[in-house]
């Protein structure tokens, strides 16, 4: 029997796919599909459009465009049902079609990921509940790569930090709960952050809820209430709030920079076709044909070239591309020369498609890299990067103010400025009141009065703060644990690495060319204690056993560090029924300790640079015999964020007279 691998990406994808197709199959005949824009990316990742067509989907429409026509009798809505506005939009469109169309329609609504009571109420009051058959598509995790599962909740940042709406937390808990039902309880839940704590509490609470509801379908054997999982080591929850700076910084890995420059959505990025020639069709490229000059490029984690490129620091991407080009050239040439016997020739021909695909991918990535280089060479990019690096390395932020002011005067994009300001505020426990006021005034003058709202939103999200107290004046002094103090953290977690080696990295600091992301450091302090301890405090005599660093005992680093990091700290163990645990330990013995999965959940989003850093940690852990005992890391998140998205949640888009 193959070992059960929890959080298996292909399993998750397959299940979601099957669920949807089953739902579609339930509706006879051809149908028009109306879907929410936010779901389009996820859908594309799971199901090819041609497959949807096989299942009778005639034409896709976007809910936002409100343009579904009456060409088919069946109209299927595929939307998230958590927000009242979307529900209302669905109700309005059903009413519109019913009014305008001459034929009678069959409406079906698939709520993602669940049917809500509120949606029922709204539909009922709109008088359409009886008209539509309602079902749910339990789509939670969507695999973006083999080790990355995302909920793809686009609004999480805005909901959770600005509006304090805990929907995302609840959905995350549901998603994790489903995994627990399949693979057993997480033996340990540990993490940092107020929202993360809420998530952990919810998980524990749901355990009793689910066991209560379980007996109804006792057909599917479940491990819940019985035993902690034998394949999962622990769940680490990191609240984005704990570590805003990492998300605000400009990512310097290749994948991170593609995200920064072109923005990646559901593994796809849109690039001007002048950059990557428009002719070569990409395998797996679906979606609407590019009407504009934009072309969709798939960022495919299965592309062998990209796997090496994606996580590398951009500084060495050029070299890697060169190397790949040379290897490709030599292998094709030599083979041609050597292909003397027919057998060899056949072998060579068989490999050709692979070479061609690689060639295409090489060409594509070379042109992407060139475009990114153009971007990184600009004055604005280097100046803002300089400010970031100075702030993170611990320089007095006041020295950076001139540069920031100058950048404001030069009218560079607002998100870039806000990222710098928020970075300063979050790393230094706020900005001095006088300076903050100056900056605010400058921003309002430069970008328009509507950004008064932007700034107020940022303050609500705690991204922008007055040093020594909240801007509202409600709390006179900063409560302990409400801000992160970076000064001690820089030392105790070695957040800044002066001797960073981008080409052959020996530490996660390579992803930001110096700064080691706090979030990943916290995770390291739990799962990679030895390495981290040796990094922070190299032993006097290297001969001493590597396991002997006193810092590595217990959770010392984690405990020390979490004192200075904002948000609640928690560490829960989940045990099962005693009998069952005993029985299993009798069966297994205690040798089965290796090769477990560590699940890392980023509540509020994860950046691509952090994924790269965690993959780096994961590679080290996978060496069996080391401290990781061959365990692997799976990264889960509510979505992928980048600095622009984080501050973008606050930015007011309306303006006067428009």
């Amino acid at each position: 029997m193959a070992p059960i691998t929890p959080f298996n990406a292909s399993d998750v994808a397959e299940k979601a796919r099957r669920d949807l197709l089953l739902l579609l199959e339930g509706i006879r005949g051809k149908k028009n599909l109306v879907l929410e824009k936010a779901l389009a990316g996820s859908l594309n990742l799971l199901v090819k459009f041609s497959t949807l067509q096989e299942y009778g989907v005639d034409k896709p429409f976007f809910l936002e465009n409100d343009n579904v026509d009456s060409s088919q009798r069946n109209v299927v809505f595929l939307v998230r049902g958590e927000k009242a506005t979307t529900v209302q939009a669905v109700a309005d469109q059903i009413k519109r079609i019913r009014r305008d169309s001459s034929i009678e329609h069959e409406f079906s609504i698939f709520w993602v990921p669940r049917r809500t009571m509120v949606s029922d109420q709204l539909l009922e009051s709109a008088g359409v509940l009886g008209e539509a058959s309602v079902s749910e598509w339990p789509l939670f995790f969507i695999p973006l790569a083999d080790d990355v599962l995302s909920l793809e909740l686009d609004d999480t940042v805005k909901d959770m930090y600005l509006r304090k709406d805990p929907t995302s937390i609840y959905l995350s808990a549901k998603a994790l709960m489903l995994q627990q039902q399949k693979y057993g309880l997480f033996p340990r839940i540990i993490g940092k952050g107020d929202n993360a704590k809420r998530l952990a509490d919810l998980l524990i609470r749901m355990r009793t809820e689910v066991t209560a509801g379980e007996s109804t379908n006792s057909l599917s054997p479940s491990f819940l209430g019985l035993v902690p999982s034998s394949t999962v080591d622990s769940l680490i929850i990191i609240d984005r709030e704990v570590d805003f700076p990492t998300a605000l910084l400009t990512q310097l890995t290749y994948e991170g920079l593609i995200d920064e420059v072109f923005s990646i959505k559901a593994n796809q990025t849109e690039v001007d076709s002048s950059v990557v020639g428009g002719a070569t069709p990409q395998p797996g490229q679906t979606g609407s044909a590019s009407t504009s000059m934009k072309r969709k490029v798939l960022i495919d984690s299965k592309d062998s070239l990209y796997t090496t490129l994606g996580d590398s620091n951009f500084a060495i991407v050029g070299n890697l591309l060169n190397k790949a080009a040379r290897r490709l050239q030599s292998s094709t040439e030599r083979n041609q020369l050597a292909a003397k016997t027919t057998a060899e020739l056949r072998e060579f021909v068989a490999k050709l498609p692979g070479y061609q695909a690689e060639q295409a991918s090489l060409k594509q990535h070379t042109s992407l890299a060139e475009e990114i280089i153009k971007h990184t060479r600009t004055d604005i990019f280097t100046r803002s990067l300089e400010v970031q690096q100075n702030i993170m390395s611990g320089a007095d932020p006041i020295t950076q103010h001139d540069t920031i002011t100058e950048l404001i005067s030069r009218d560079i994009p607002l998100p870039t400025i806000l990222r710098l300001l928020c970075l300063e505020s979050t790393t230094n426990a706020g900005i001095r009141p006088k300076d903050l006021e100056t900056f605010k005034r400058a921003i309002i003058q430069a970008y328009g009065p509507q950004h008064l709202l932007t700034l107020s939103s940022l303050e609500k999200m705690n991204l922008l703060q007055v040093r020594g107290g909240s801007a509202l004046g409600a709390t006179p002094a900063a409560r302990p644990g409400s801000v992160s103090n970076y000064t001690p953290l820089r030392k105790s977690l070695k957040l800044w690495d002066d001797e960073v080696n981008e080409a052959d990295p020996n530490d996660i600091s390579y992803v930001f060319s110096g700064y080691a992301p706090l979030s990943v450091r916290i995770i390291q302090s739990i799962i990679q204690k030895q390495t981290l301890a040796n990094l922070i405090k190299p032993l006097s005599n290297p001969q001493a056993s590597a396991q002997a660093n006193p810092l590595a005992q217990g959770l010392r680093i984690f405990d020390d560090a979490s004192k200075y990091v904002r948000g609640a700290t928690f560490d829960e163990t989940q045990t099962g029924e005693e009998k069952a645990v005993k029985a299993r330990s009798m069966l297994n013995g205690s040798h089965n300790d290796a090769g477990k999965t560590v699940v890392v959940f980023f509540l509020g989003g994860v950046t691509r640079a952090e994924i790269s850093a965690l993959r780096f940690v994961g590679r080290k852990l996978r060496d069996v015999g080391g401290e990781g005992r061959g365990s692997k890391i799976v990264i889960c998140s509510t979505g992928i964020v980048r600095g622009e998205g984080l501050v973008g949640a606050a930015i007011e888009t309306q303006r006067f007279g428009a």
Binding site: R28, S215, L452, L453
Partner: protein
Amino acid sequence: MSKPTANWEKVGDKFYRKVQLYTAVFDQDLELQNYNVVGAPYSGAVAIYRDEDKVYEYRGAQATRSSIDIYSCAGKLIRRINWDKGTIKALGWSEDEKLIVVTADGTVRCYYHLQGDFVPFTLGHGADEHGVQSCKFYGSGFVALLGNNQLITVSNYTEPRPKLLASPPSDPVVSWAIIPPTYSLSRSVEVILAIGTTLYVVDATDAEDRDFTAGPFRHISVSPKGEFLAFYTEDGKVWVVSGDWSEKLSEYDSRAKTVPKDMQWCGSNAVALAWEDEVHLIGPRSVATKFYYDAWVHLLPDVDGLRLLTNDVCEYLQKVPDETVEVFRLGSDSPAANLLEASSLLDQKSPKADDLIQLIRPSLSEAVDTCIKAAGHEYNIHWQKALLKAASYGKSVLDLYSSDDFVDICDTLRVLNAVRFYEIGLPLSYDQFKRLTPEKLIERLTNRHEYLLALRIASYLHLSSDKIHGHWAQQKVRVSTDSEEVICTLIVKKLHGKPGVSFEEIARAAYEEGRVRLATELLNYEPRAGKQVPLLLGMKEDTIALDKAIESGDTDLIYHVLLHLRKKLPLASFFRVINTRPVATALVETSALDQDRDLLKDLYYQDDRRLDGSNLLFTEALSQTTLAPSLDKLKLASKYLQDSRDASAVFQRGALDDATKLLRMQETFEKDLAPSQSTPSPIPGAATSTYIGLSLNATIFALLRAGHQKRALKLQHEFKVTDKAYTWLRLRALVSARHWIELEEISKTKKSAIGWEPFFNECLSAGKTNYAALFIPKCTGLSVAERVEMWTKCGLLVKAGEEALKAKDKALLEEIRAKATGSAVLELERLIGMLPGGRR
């Protein structure tokens, strides 16, 4: 013991058996011929009601009160539903023993759990107008035929959505039948209608004429798995057609003058025709056998056979399973028959037992399997035992044999025998039990209040007993006369350590029974908030409901409670409720932002959240399309803050006032400068931009670009724009408008707030190297090397050389020479020569 083959009948080359399940089923006074009888699938309960079309003896006023009576197969009355709700047009059962009653006006009542209350819904689609004619039921739904030949289908009872099927012709329907969705080719329900001499197949999209001429068909029957269709023609023939209509399989002439009152499939192999007291069983290849009764007989079809019901007996007619035939058939010499024989010989201590075993030795394991299976299909306990004994004997001879099947059958038989007992009255066949599943069986038992047996079976089969306990507790709450405390402690004690019990259901039962306090008490033991909340709301425990919802973290639940409260409470008390609960407040704010701004305003005002209130007004100002209302809103927003003294409010007010001021000035600019806009501007894009809505910097930029320096300066003073920012703006505006002359003018001034480097950079990136070069000498703060670099960028290598010369940097000079071409080389050579030791 009678022979097991005693009740066998040969139909063609197949055997059918008629198992007598129960005797003395109904009261002899009950005139079964005047009743309609329907049986629930899997040997479930039987519902009877008086057929109103038939004349019957007048028995005084009492007997005329009509009712629907539900009996077990053994004739035990389970429930009597008194009926005064109109003409019953159809009665049916769902797979899980829900009783469905359809009345002529299209109202459907769905009775739960045998004992439970009903849930009504209406068919709609004109059912009330045309009236329901009849209905056909399948496992999870039914189809109703209306007076105007329209067909309405309902596919589930939890959320019934009556749907209209395609319209057939309106001629009278002679008979009809349905193919359930699970077995139809299209995976949705299909209806076969006999109209005129032909047949129509109707589904959701169209009604197709099958072009038959042999009709009219008096009866249509679909086999349990939909693989065969049987039709009874006017002239007394039975046709069997394959389910895909591809082939006519057989035709049987009944030679009967009267049309039978019913035609049903018995399993999938034979069709039964029923007259009043006569049943014909027609097997494949048109062979038939006849059964005679001395009373009116009803046919109740099931998946693998047919129940026959008369006043006296309840019989089960089925094809004898192959294994049973193998063992018991007269003169059978199969290994299994021999094994049975050997086992009985062993009982008689005869030595021949071993001889027989040795004889069948090679196929002994099959023989054991056959005996085990035959035991499963056997109703008679004596023969069950005999068969199992034989299997056990054969097993002991075999060296290697997995006893799993044996154990499984033993368990199953024990359960089956227990439920077949006449007091329980669930005569399940082995196949029915397998299809029904043990869980459903337990559910049926609890519905019949047979808690003890249900518990015993659950523990015997290692199934969860939570449901049974829950059901018991509900019943307890309903009927117990004990005091509420006693009931509560009793229930809690009994259910302790059984996490799967739904306290919500018990609490609901208590609430419906009017025991509110008990309900609240019980609800505290319910761990699932999703279950607690709706009931709490129903019980008007609003704040508890809200707290529970918040605890659960499920925003949907919280919204649900909030919506409910919002409708119910006056605004002030609504705010009071949410104020102390931050999550609730946050959710109200979020939803109000999209939907109900006024509510939000009230909330902020009542909560004294000045800044938020002002922000909200500001948002409204932004969303205005014209200037005047925008300005009004801005004024309001500012006024909102006038009493606040803290720093952020003061700042906000300042910013708001600035915004107003800016907008007013922009308005005047717009007016003053409008004519100039009509003249074609030399710079594309400038003409389209208006001033209103721009940021301050953008306004200054636009003014400078259009050459309105005075106005720009005025703005700078008015809003205290720093010199640095202003200079930057001016620089960028001039470059973008390509006012090079003016830039040249600037280069002659002494000082610049931002140094001269930006001037150089901007000019350079605009491609004007000659103007960029103007600023190089002014960058005195930079090092020589940097200045040389700047000159080089402008392509003025000689100038670069001169710069290096001034610094007496020979290495730098040589570097420059290396880059040079043409005459510049000579010039640079000359410069190198000027350095001491330059010429070697």
